[in-house]
């Protein structure tokens, strides 16, 4: 089974689950954490609930995470005053569960986010710079009359790293830089946007949730989740 963690209203997640029906794909949403059946314990096999059904961890072949956390607004079935607490608890459970799954997980969680690091735009710029990728400076200004984030951008191109594949451009220099950033961030799935400045591609931004409505990207993700990427 391929598990897709997403908000239950995430249309892309449900479309992927349909497309991947042959691999028994299903969406795990916040509602599934309010069903008897979850069991995470020392030394025993974990059990989860996916699409309202109890699933043994051994039956899960891969996980794709399309949500940074469980949000309060997803918890309409929980009493209003408890939603904030329950959202934090559910996120904490998923973090733990995802971290110890042995199957492919895109992306692995960090303590701060269910999928990859929870970095600010400024930190992505610094990590790219430290990884030897030319960067476009970012300026965040907080003044009472006009608080904003600015980054000069000319024409941009977005590449998507999926494991060892890089999609979106045939330019090997861009591919190499995108791959370098994904490695620095310790993620396997990453959209990286570059802008051209004086004919030099500069890093602009990164996103651990690429556009999966793009069939090529979705195909590469499925390939990764099924363990079919060439080494």
């Amino acid at each position: 089974m391929i598990v897709i963690i997403a908000n239950r209203r995430n249309q892309v997640a449900h479309a992927l689950a349909q497309q991947w029906a042959a691999w028994d794909a299903a969406v795990l949403s916040a509602q599934d954490l309010s069903v008897a059946g979850w069991s995470l314990t020392d030394g025993a096999t974990d059990a989860a609930v996916v699409a309202q059904q109890r699933v043994d961890e051994r039956d899960i072949s891969a996980v794709l995470t399309l949500a940074p956390c469980i949000f309060e607004h997803e918890l309409g079935h929980i009493t209003l005053e408890d939603r904030s607490y329950v959202a934090a608890e559910m996120t904490a459970v998923l973090t733990f569960w995802l971290a110890r799954l042995r199957c492919p997980v895109l992306n692995r969680p960090t303590a701060a986010r269910l999928s990859g690091p929870a970095w600010s735009p400024e930190k992505w710029v610094r990590v790219a710079y430290e990884a030897g990728v030319p960067v476009e400076s970012i300026c965040r200004t907080a003044v009472p009359a006009d608080s904003k984030v600015e980054q000069k951008m000319s024409s941009t191109v977005t590449l998507t790293v999926v494991g060892n594949r890089v999609l979106g451009s045939d330019d090997s220099r861009l591919q190499q830089r995108a791959r370098r950033l994904a490695q620095a961030a310790a993620v396997e799935l990453l959209a990286v946007t570059f802008a051209t400045v004086d004919s030099e591609p500069h890093f602009v931004s990164a996103d651990v949730f690429p556009n999966l409505s793009d069939e090529t990207v979705a195909g590469a993700v499925l390939e990764y989740l099924r363990g079919q990427q060439a080494a």
Partner: protein
Amino acid sequence: MTENRTILLWGIPEDAPTAAMQDALRRANSDFIFLNQHAVLRTTVELIVGSSVEGQLRIGDQDFGLAQIKSAYLRPYEPAAFPQIARAGPHSRVWRHAHTVYQALHSWSEITDALVVNRPDAAAVNNSKPYQAALIEALGFRTPRTLITTDPALALDFWRQHEVVIYKSISAVRSIVSRLSDKHHCRLADIANCPTQFQQYISGTEYRVHVVGDEVFACAITTNADDYRYSDKPVQMQACELPPEVAATCRRLAQSMNLHVAGIDLRRTSQGDWYCFEVNPSPGFTYFENQTGLAIADSIARFLMRGTGENRQRYPTRRDSDESLYQAAAVS
């Protein structure tokens, strides 16, 4: 290059650890900037990040270059916690400004070369207690047998198996650690709504340990309460020395989590086993300092005064630190 020379404290004056840090830095005649969150509407920040990290912080009519800051002690609250911001609402300029200040300083604290107690990325390790427990076990402390479940029948089995069982929050949200008792039987069905963490109760002597850089401050806590922090039962605290190997493990635990200051909750059983329950990345150390006389604030002040150079690992990513430990724990 601007010489690093001052210390930033960010928080609110009524927060006891923040107040204690101001007092400690004054005692040490150290220069510092206090960024009071109540004054957020008189605060402006400009942060420019590219090949360098630069910017300006203005509090009232005073300007500070962010590059002037050699170290920072952070205890900020979310902007929405302040009535003036909450009242203004998410579509107001006030709200937007308060959040941009918060995000700008949050970002700065992640990427600056200054020493930061503690970087937000590192502090996030406490967001999932079982996730953190795996790191703790990998470094040598025991952790209690644990079940996280939405299944009342499994919870009941676990309770029968361990006889004395506590439940507590899974996330960093504070909760009172409570022992399961007969009155919980009828409420166990509620756990189907939200996964709940149950743990084998470990009896023994409680210890609270504060690690500040390489220094370790320990106190033994004598109490009959399940959670002494919220108990009206008598609680006695006494400063003590830990066995060297336990102190070393505490240091290693804090360092491996990239925490310059940490509050570690331990319990020693009558058999001499040491259990660790939690590592707090933003400890309210004053509660313990006031009752034991341990000079924790002074130690943090000295650490901050030393500043940059202690903070070698600037980008603590999961693969570099906690993930490898995590995998080790998961395998063992």
